[in-house]
């Protein structure tokens, strides 16, 4: 049986299998069709109907199940919904167990949430360092807006303020008003 206890492990392995089997297009189709349009219909239903409140219900529930040690912080304001991960339960599982079958596991988050939020009228600003730390801000699109300065939205909980945010092994990927997993800005370390 394929279990849920080590889901993140075989989920990541599956990305690599898809890439070998059908290339990048099949990986993207998987995140969009299987995860967004099928597995996460409950997320879409909540966010499409309730916006930020729906995000709070969805991520409040699912992150508490995945990370009972509270390796995350949710910040909600009238204009933004933000999540800071200090210890991503999903990426952390892979790091602790030495698992890597796909070139960039973290892409899967944008792979399914990007299209979902776009369909609900939101874009995503965010960065991740591939060490289990990241931040995400969901807002209405505004071409004039840049990303928020460190601490501006979530104060001391901002993942960018962690001492190891740019520590050894960190590679920062950034999305700005994005909806597509391939819409990253050039990398920095």
């Amino acid at each position: 049986m394929i279990g849920c206890y080590d889901f993140c492990g075989h989920y990541e392995w599956t990305f690599g299998w898809f890439e070998r089997t059908g290339g990048h297009a099949l990986v993207r189709a998987y995140w969009y069709e299987a995860i967004y349009l099928d597995a996460q219909t409950h997320a879409r239903d909540l966010i499409a109907k309730e916006g930020f409140e729906g995000m709070a219900k969805y991520w409040g529930h699912t992150l508490l199940e995945e990370s009972p040690s509270l390796g995350f912080t949710i910040t909600q304001r009238p204009d933004v919904f933000r999540i800071d991960f200090h210890d991503c339960p999903s990426r952390g599982f892979l790091l602790r167990n030495g698992l890597k079958n796909y070139r960039d596991y973290c892409d899967h988050c944008m792979g399914w949430t990007g299209p979902l939020l776009k369909d609900c009228g939101f874009t995503i600003d965010g960065e991740h360092n591939h060490l289990g730390q990241c931040w995400w801000e969901m807002r209405k699109p505004d071409p004039k807006r840049g990303i928020s300065p460190p601490g501006a939205t979530s104060g001391s909980k901002d993942a960018r303020l962690l001492p190891n945010w740019k520590g050894p092994g960190a590679v920062i990927d950034r999305y700005v008003q994005a909806s597509d997993p391939d819409a990253k800005e050039p990398r920095s370390t």
């Binding site: 049986m1 394929i2 279990g3 849920c4 206890y5 080590d6 889901f7 492990g9 075989h10 989920y11 392995w13 599956t14 299998w17 089997t21 059908g22 099949l26 189709a29 998987y30 069709e33 299987a34 995860i35 099928d38 597995a39 996460q40 409950h42 699912t62 199940e65 995945e66 009972p68 040690s69 339960p89 952390g92 599982f93 602790r96 167990n97 698992l99 079958n101």
Partner: protein
């Protein structure tokens, strides 16, 4: 029949900081099956399961090969203890290990969530279990399905009867 005791993390090659998994991940597993079946057909889905069996599960398979049927039994006891909602008993007899799944945790959660389930869902346990067993010189057979079933691991593959796929029930959503 009883719920397995607490997980023995050292028996499982990949361990988490929480004692049991998040059941909503069963939605992802089911959706993955449906996606592969739609895109690549049954043969592609079986290839996916058998590749995962040999590659992703290689560390556990190696323990089965080294430890034989007692290692298989210990693995499945720990495995189901970490799957929320499962009711499973694992018993050992000469030459075989029997896993009686009274309540399949995946189908329980998928049905409770009103999800459309791949009719072939239960066959994944056979395709994956038998491919994993084969790496250790064993065989696995399955009967039942749609919420409860029996897995049997044979210590010698030659002693296992043929698998009749018709004895694995389709899932009703």
């Amino acid at each position: 029949m009883s719920t397995p005791p607490a997980a023995s993390p050292s028996v499982l090659p990949y361990t988490d900081t929480k004692p049991v998994g998040s059941p909503d991940f069963y939605y992802g597993i089911n959706s993955t099956f449906k996606f592969i079946l739609a895109k690549l057909g049954t043969a592609g889905w079986v290839r996916y399961l058998e590749d995962m069996a040999r590659e992703y599960h290689a560390p556990a398979n190696a323990r089965w090969k080294a430890g034989g049927l007692p290692a298989v039994a210990a693995y499945w006891r720990a495995f189901f203890a970490a799957e929320p909602g499962s009711q499973v008993s694992v018993s050992e007899a000469p030459g075989r290990v029997k896993i009686e799944v009274k309540v399949c945790p995946a189908l329980k959660h998928l049905k409770a969530g009103g999800r459309k389930i791949a009719p072939e869902f239960c066959r994944h346990c056979y395709h994956m279990g038998n491919a994993r067993a084969a790496t250790a010189g064993m065989a696995m057979r399955l009967e039942g399905g749609n919420g409860s079933c029996t897995h049997t691991y044979y210590g010698r593959a030659a002693e296992a009867p043929p698998q009749d796929l018709a004895r694995i029930k389709e899932v009703s959503s």
